[in-house]
Point group: C2
Chain length 227, copies 2
DNA sequence: AAAGATTTTTAATTTAAATTAAAATATTTT
DNA sequence: AAAATATTTTAATTTAAATTAAAAATCTTT
């Protein structure tokens, strides 16, 4: 695998995360990247030219970018590193899930495939990181799981769900979830949808709370195996 | 603690390692540093000016450098990080001691005190790394132990020694030690000194070998508690 | 103590990445 | 479809670090 600079790895990762979710040949535009990476459009254009030179992206000026197969491979490997480190930090070093982001951002750029494969083995090949994000395996394959947004959960047809992950890693949001007791793996019951702010009434054990769309739009869930 | 660049941390660490062993107000010179760091004298001078600006070193042009208290603190913290990571790589991820150097060189620059303190706790506060180098604690204090070079061991007065550490981390040297079965903690018996190449006859269990000065000059030993 | 050798510093360049402001191109609105 | 607005690119600077070659200082030798 060719060696990339830290900035290059970060760009590829960000492009991957902004293109993946959407349709086939969708392009990410310059501004989206400059915002996601907290930099300016000018800096982004500069870097896009370099990445295009190296055949890591398909770049159409004024239109946007896409990853090449090579670029996608690198982006997925960076994600793999990031998520394995996050898993290690939370499960072994006892970091809280709202604090691991910055540290994993640094650790993910350590350049050693052997390190990552040994770390993966040591951690016993986890499939999901502490935020519920899938960890690609050494071949770059993601584990499959059908999840939906809590906000899209069909209350009428069914009403039990298990928390699978979160869409934002914003520290305040994560601390808020800690505070109310929501964590990955928790089984909740969705009792009612309330029009005001698209709120939902959810409950588990002896708890019953109302959360609005700013919460439900950021939580992924799946249906339990045995209803 | 003020934040340093990777290059700055490396310079401080190298100065520390080249000044520490010798007398009180010894100075390291530019050329020593350029060789130790695989760079040119010109680059070193540039960096020395910056470090001096930041009051991390005492720099006397044409004479050499020394660390200030502040610089020493930073250098020791960098060593702490490097050695804790080496310990982790060998004891937990099962790396061999000849392979950890490059990776630890990268890991030591991850910027998070909390990470290091949690790692230290997780590792159960080890005092020596896999090469036998002392790991400073969170206060910057080194464990104390009286070791001597195997080549200086007084064969006549006493003849048992325990391997404490190695002075070079050269991979071929370490693999050689693996090959002949010498490892940290091994108790050996020093049977004889032989003038040719300052060789020594050493033995343990059913093994008996002769090693010359290029080996004995790079091995640290100490005397067993109960002779 | 002067000549020659070695070491150090200075100064001019190079590279990767970021920033800013101006110019060019798209998109949206009327 | 032209005008107004958004976005994107270009070009000129900035910063950290490294390199190279020339100039300056120091050390060694006689």
């Amino acid at each position: 695998m060719a060696k990339l600079t830290i900035a290059e790895e970060n760009y590829l990762k960000t492009i991957f995360l902004n293109v993946d979710s959407q349709q086939e040949d969708c392009l990410v535009n310059t501004n989206t990247l400059s915002q996601a990476m907290n930099t300016t459009a000018g800096s982004v254009t500069d870097m896009l030219k370099k990445l295009s030179e190296k055949e890591l992206i398909h770049y159409i000026p004024y239109k946007g970018v896409n990853l090449t197969e090579k670029g996608k491979k690198m982006a997925i490997f960076t994600l793999r590193k990031q998520r394995l480190w996050e898993y290690f930090l939370v499960t072994h070093l006892k970091f809280s899930w709202d604090k691991v982001h910055e540290i994993a951002e640094q650790l993910e750029h350590i350049d050693s495939e052997e390190l990552i494969e040994k770390l993966d083995e040591y951690l016993n090949y986890p499939e999901y990181d502490p935020h519920g994000d899938p960890i690609p395996n050494a071949k770059g394959e993601f584990p499959q799981r059908k999840t939906i947004l809590l906000s899209d959960f069909p209350v009428n047809t069914y009403n039990k769900a298990i928390i699978a992950g979160v869409l934002t890693h914003n520290a305040d949001f994560l601390k808020f979830l800690d505070r109310i007791g929501i964590h990955i793996g928790l089984e909740i019951q969705i009792t009612e949808k309330i029009p005001f702010e698209d709120s939902m009434l959810i409950q588990w054990k002896n708890k019953e709370i109302i959360i609005n769309r700013s919460i439900t739009n950021n939580i992924l869930v799946y249906k339990p195996e045995n209803p």
